[in-house]
C-alpha cells in the first residue's frame, strides 16, 4: 500500500514540477518527490512478514532473527541529508532571485 502511495508521491512531485512556476513551489515539489522516493526505497527493503524486525543490533542477538534489509535504510539516510543540502541551496538561490527580480515567479523574471 505504501509502495503505491510512494509512487503516487513521486508522480505528484513531478506534476508539481511540471505545473508550477513559483520557485518556492518548485522546491516544495522536489521535496515531495524526495519523500516519495525515500518511502519507495524503504518499501523495497521491507519484508512483509510479521516476525521481521528492524535491523538494529541489540545486546541479546537471537540466532534465528529475520531482519529487514538494512541497506536501503542506510541509503535513505544518505539521501535525506543530500536532499536537505539541495533544498538549502535551492532556497538560498530563491532568496537571491528575489533580491534580483523581486518575485518568486519564473514567468515574471523574463527570458533572456
Amino acid at each position: 500500500m505504501l509502495l503505491y502511495a510512494s509512487v503516487l508521491l513521486i508522480v505528484i512531485g513531478l506534476y508539481g514540477l511540471l505545473t508550477n512556476r513559483n520557485v518556492i513551489k518548485i522546491i516544495l515539489s522536489l521535496n515531495v518527490l524526495e519523500i516519495g522516493l525515500n518511502i519507495f526505497i524503504i518499501t523495497v527493503g521491507f519484508l512483509d512478514l510479521e516476525e521481521a524486525i528492524a535491523p538494529i543490533i541489540t545486546l541479546q542477538q537471537r540466532a534465528s532473527v529475520i531482519v529487514v534489509d538494512p541497506l536501503p535504510q542506510a541509503l535513505v539516510l544518505t539521501a535525506i541529508v543530500i536532499g536537505v543540502g539541495t533544498t538549502a541551496i535551492g532556497l538560498s538561490l530563491a532568496k537571491k532571485m528575489y533580491d534580483k527580480y523581486h518575485t518568486f515567479n519564473l514567468d515574471e523574471m523574463g527570458e533572456e
Partner: protein, 459 residues
C-alpha cells in the same frame, strides 16, 4: 599509494580550508597538484572500503580506464585552478570538494556510492556556478540536476530490488547471465540513462546548459564544459560498458535520443551567433557522439575521444571565456579579430578546433577515423552517416568562427591573456599535434584498454 587518498586528501583539506580561510587557495593549488602527481605512483586494482566483501562493501576500482579518466579530470582541474584560484578565493573549499566528488565518480564501482558522488559533485557545481551572478540559471541547473539524480536513484533502487546487488560489475554480470527477457530491466536502465543524461547534456534533458555555459565565466566555463563534461562522460562510459543491457525498445529510444542530440545540437550551434552558445551546443553534440560510441560498444576509442575532447574543450572554453570576461559581450561580431593581437592563443585555439573537427595531423583525426572504421565494419552505416553529417555542420560553424577570429583588421578587440593561459594552450595544442602524427601512444592506450576486459571483483 592507495586510491582512497585521491578522494580523502581533497576532502580533508576542504574542511581544513573552511577553518583556515586564508590558506584555502594554497591548499586548493597544492592538493590539485598533489592529485596529478599522485596518479603517477598509484597502483591499479580494487579496494573495498570498510573491509566488507566486495559484494556488499563500497568498492573503488582503478584500472587503465579510470586511470585515464583521473588523469584527464585532475590535470584539467589543476590547470583551471592554477588560472583561477586567486580570483575566487571563497570558493576554494567547494572546489576541493568538487574535486573529491569527481574523483569519486571515476573510481567508484558501486551504484549508490556513485549517486552520492554525483550529488557531491553536483552540489559543488551549483555553488560554483553562483559566481556567474545568474541565480535563475543556477536554480534551473539545480532543479534539473536533482530530478536527474532522483531518477538515477529510482533506477538503481529498482535494480537493487530485482537483484540485491549494487556493485556495478557484479550487477552487470548477473544481468548479462541471468536475465533472458531484456525488456524487464529496460525501465530501471532508462531511469539511470535519464539521470546521467541530465548531467551529460543529452538532448531533451539538458536545458540547464544554456543558462550555465551560456553565461559562464573563466572559471565555470572550463570547469563545467570541460572537467564535468569529461567526468560524466567517463562515468556514462563506465556504466555503458559494465552495466547496461539494452532491450530492443530501449536501444531504439536511446539511439533516437542520441542521434537527435548529435544532429540537433549541431543545428543549434549553427543557429547561434553567440560564441559561448556555439561552444555549448557543439559540446552537447559531442557528448552525444561520445555516449553513442560507448553505447555501440567501441569502448577504447570512446575513451580516447572523451579524453581528447576534454583537453580541446578546455582550450576553447578558456580562451573564449577570458575574452568574453574582458570584452563584456559574447556576440561573434563583438569578438571578431580576437586572434589578430593574440596569435599564439589563436594558434592553440585553431589546433584544438581542427582536432575536434577531425582534420588530419591532429589527434582528433585518428580517433574519428578509428571510430568510423569500427562502425563501418560492424556494420552501422546509419550512424556513420549521422556522425559525418554532424561533422559537416560542425565544420561549417567552427570554420566560420575561426575565420572571424583571425581575419578582421579594423576593430580587433584587445584581450590580455596571462602567460599561464598561453603556455597551457600551446602545450595542449602541441600534444594534440604530436599525438596526431606519432601514433604509438594512442595505439598503446588503445591496446591497454582492450586488455581490461576482465571484471575486477575481488580486490
Amino acid at each position: 599509494m592507495s586510491i582512497v587518498l585521491l578522494i580523502a586528501v581533497p576532502l580533508f583539506f576542504a574542511f581544513l580550508g573552511i577553518i583556515l580561510k586564508k590558506a584555502a587557495p594554497y591548499f586548493l593549488l597544492l592538493v590539485s597538484f598533489f592529485n596529478v602527481l599522485a596518479l603517477g605512483f598509484i597502483s591499479q586494482g580494487a579496494i573495498v572500503i570498510g573491509g566488507y566483501s566486495s559484494f556488499y562493501g563500497i568498492q573503488l576500482v582503478l584500472n587503465s580506464y579510470s586511470l585515464i579518466g583521473l588523469y584527464v579530470v585532475n590535470t584539467l582541474f589543476f590547470v583551471i585552478v592554477a588560472i583561477n584560484c586567486f580570483k575566487h578565493k571563497k570558493l576554494s573549499p567547494i572546489l576541493l570538494i568538487s574535486l573529491a566528488g569527481l574523483n569519486g565518480l571515476l573510481l567508484t564501482n558501486d551504484l549508490f556510492n556513485l549517486f552520492v558522488f554525483m550529488e557531491i559533485a553536483g552540489i559543488s557545481a551549483y555553488l560554483i556556478t553562483t559566481t556567474t551572478k545568474d541565480p535563475k540559471s543556477t536554480f534551473n541547473y539545480l532543479v534539473l540536476g536533482t530530478i536527474g539524480s532522483s531518477f538515477y536513484l529510482l533506477g538503481l533502487i529498482i535494480l537493487y530490488a530485482m537483484f540485491g546487488v549494487l556493485n556495478i560489475r557484479i550487477l552487470g554480470n548477473i544481468i548479462e547471465g541471468v536475465v533472458t527477457n531484456k525488456a524487464a530491466v529496460a525501465l530501471p536502465f532508462l531511469f539511470i540513462f535519464i539521470g546521467l543524461g541530465v548531467e551529460t547534456k543529452l538532448l531533451p534533458f539538458n536545458s540547464w546548459v544554456k543558462g550555465i555555459l551560456g553565461k559562464s565565466n573563466a572559471l565555470t566555463g572550463p570547469l563545467v564544459g570541460a572537467v564535468y563534461a569529461s567526468a560524466f562522460a567517463f562515468v556514462f562510459g563506465n556504466l555503458l560498458r559494465y552495466l547496461f543491457v539494452f532491450s530492443e525498445s530501449l536501444l531504439l529510444i536511446v539511439s533516437i535520443l542520441l542521434v537527435a542530440t548529435i544532429l540537433i545540437g549541431e543545428a543549434m550551434a549553427y543557429a547561434s551567433t553567440k560564441v559561448r552558445e556555439i561552444l555549448l551546443f557543439s559540446s552537447i553534440a559531442q557528448a552525444g557522439v561520445a555516449v553513442l560510441v560507448f553505447a555501440l560498444g567501441y569502448y577504447t576509442w570512446g575513451t580516447i575521444l572523451i579524453a581528447l575532447n576534454g583537453f580541446s574543450k578546455l582550450i576553447l572554453y578558456l580562451v573564449v571565456n577570458i575574452a568574453v570576461d574582458q570584452v563584456k559581450s559574447d556576440e561573434l561580431s563583438a569578438l571578431k579579430g580576437l586572434f589578430v593581437n593574440n596569435k599564439l592563443i589563436g594558434a592553440g585555439f585553431s589546433v584544438a578546433t581542427l582536432s575536434i573537427l577531425g582534420l588530419p595531423i591532429f589527434a582528433g583525426f585518428i580517433v574519428k577515423m578509428n571510430i568510423l572504421v569500427a562502425m563501418a565494419n560492424t556494420p552501422k552505416f546509419f550512424f556513420v552517416g549521422v556522425i559525418l553529417l554532424a561533422s559537416l555542420i560542425e565544420g561549417i560553424y567552427f570554420i566560420k568562427l575561426l575565420i572571424n577570429f583571425w581575419f578582421e583588421q579594423d576593430q580587433a578587440p584587445r584581450v590580455k591573456y596571462s602567460y599561464v593561459v598561453i603556455y597551457v594552450t600551446l602545450v595542449i595544442a602541441l600534444l594534440i599535434t604530436v599525438f596526431g602524427v606519432y601514433l604509438e601512444p594512442l595505439n598503446s592506450i588503445h591496446s591497454t584498454l582492450n586488455l581490461v576486459k576482465g571484471v575486477v571483483m575481488h580486490g
